[in-house]
Amino acid sequence: MTHRRAAYFNELDASGVRLLGDRLRPGSDATTVRVRDADVLLADGPFAETKEQIAGFDIIECADLDQAIEVASKHPVATFGAIEVRPFWEE
């Protein structure tokens, strides 16, 4: 991990905003599972055939979207990739 990455995650963890997070192996190591007519169908690779793939995730607890955007915009990946901020489903 680069110094910049480490600094970012240390700060996030220290602030208590990040509850959990990790990098995922690339899409080429993914296996997509579907069940159709009781058959388990496997496919090599991710479910979506887009060029962009999910590289990791962090679960953060924020007061509002502005705080989440601030956290996301400081993520090392934001400068060349994209961070998708998605709320959890609350029933």
Partner: protein, 421 residues
């Protein structure tokens, strides 16, 4: 109902809708509930004002009625106990006379406008939501104004409100470090709204609702709410300068009349006067934002007694500063026009040619149209004709096309030469 009461209701609706909504969202956090209760309050006014007379402070009256309605509704849902508690905490003590309420309302309306224009919402949703919650337009009116089907617009509004709730877009004036960026986002939405209306008045489109008037009204609210923000005042001034020319921009045949050929006696000098003083106040702040520069340019036109009196040199300089602040080929093109007027068509053509060579405005009809005008003024009719034809191929607006066709005919010598401007 007497005409007096009808006018009062109308006036109250225009002036108070946004305030009532803003207060109720601030109090309950529930956008749909806020809309319903505001609607209820206005319905109640429709019933009771003709009977009991218009209250001394209609806004406070409406807010109080709407707030009580909201509290009633929330109390009725025992399952929403938590919400109610929050609502009670957030709501100020009842004050039917409306003494202390106004400052609170002011804050809420500013929170509402920043929330409606939050950059995490799609642009068209920001515009629609602003028109619905702040200006009080109905979904049908907004749909008509944007030539969209009503169900589409309704869906867009529902989606935007859902996103605000589900993604937890905060209902607040952004903190200091976000304020400049978010403010310019709000101003952009209002200016887009204005331009949408302004373009429509010159095209073949019929809009029932005057988007320009709504944009000006909202800009005035914003400028009032943010007295320390010169750009808000400058935007209002800019809109007023444009708006002052609305009746002289198109002739009886529906053709565009260029600025130089407009009848300046038709201009709305009251609006121009207001723009001038707004701009003067904004300039005192010693910040030079893009709206201030654009307003200053518009002021040069608006305050010139005749087209010949226009201070093209100053306009060219202002475009130069603007181009440095917000690099844009359209600004460069306008600068070329100004330079063409200040220093002669030769100098303007040089800039326009450089811009054409850069390829940055390929496909934009105003580039060949500008080159054509400059070439015409240099007496190079054949080249002018080529450029007019090019512009004609790219233009989509009917009135613009008629203007270009007329110029093309002149350049080709197939029509009587008009008086040279």
């Amino acid at each position: 109902m007497t005409a007096d009461v009808t006018a009062a209701l109308d006036e109250a609706f225009r002036a108070e809708w946004g305030k009532v909504i803003a207060t109720l969202i601030g109090m309950t956090g529930d956008w749909d509930l806020a809309e319903e209760c505001a609607q209820d309050a206005f319905t109640q006014a429709l019933r009771s004002w003709p009977r009991d007379g218009v209250p001394r402070r209609p806004g406070a009256w409406l807010t109080t009625v709407a707030r009580n309605r909201a509290l009633d509704r929330l109390r009725r849902h025992a399952s929403e106990a938590a919400k109610l508690q929050q609502a009670v905490i957030l709501s100020p003590p009842d004050d039917p006379a409306g003494g202390a309420v106004d400052t609170h309302i002011t804050d809420d309306r500013l929170r509402l406008i920043f929330t409606c224009c939050h950059p995490a919402l799609p642009l068209e949703a920001r515009v629609a939501l602003t028109l619905r919650t702040l200006a009080g337009l109905t979904t049908a009116e907004i749909a008509r104004a944007f030539l969209t089907a009503e169900p589409t617009m309704a869906k867009r509004l529902v989606r935007a409100k859902q996103k605000i709730r589900n993604a937890a877009i905060p209902y607040r004036v952004p903190p200091a470090h976000l304020l400049p960026e978010r403010t310019s986002g709000v101003l952009a939405v209002l200016y887009l709204l204005f331009n949408e209306g302004y373009a429509a008045t010159a095209g073949s489109r019929l809009v029932r609702h005057d988007l320009c008037a709504e944009a000006i009204r909202l800009a005035r609210v914003l400028a009032g709410l943010m007295p320390d923000e010169p750009e808000a005042r400058a935007l209002l001034a800019l809109m007023l300068f444009h708006h002052s020319r609305r009746t002289s921009r198109v002739n009886a045949a529906g053709d565009v009349v260029t600025l130089e050929n407009q009848d300046r006696s038709l201009w709305d000098h009251e609006e121009i006067g207001e723009g001038v003083s707004l701009l003067a106040a904004a300039v005192r702040r010693e910040q030079r934002g893009p709206y201030l520069l654009q307003a200053a340019i518009a002021q040069c036109h608006a305050t010139a007694a005749t087209a010949e009196d226009t201070d093209w040199g100053l306009i060219a300089d202002l475009y130069g500063v603007l181009a440095q602040m917000v690099p844009s080929p359209v600004v460069e093109l306008n600068r070329a026009v100004a330079v063409g007027m200040a220093d002669g068509p030769e100098a303007g053509l040089k800039l326009a040619d450089a811009l054409a060579a850069s390829g940055k405005l390929t496909g934009y009809y105003l580039l060949p149209a500008t080159r054509a005008d400059l070439l015409r003024r240099l007496g190079r009719s054949a080249e002018a004709a080529v450029s007019y034809r090019e512009a004609l191929d790219l233009a989509v607006n009917d009135a613009e096309r008629r203007y270009l066709a007329r110029r093309l005919a002149e350049a080709e010598g197939t029509a009587p030469q008009q008086s040279r401007a």
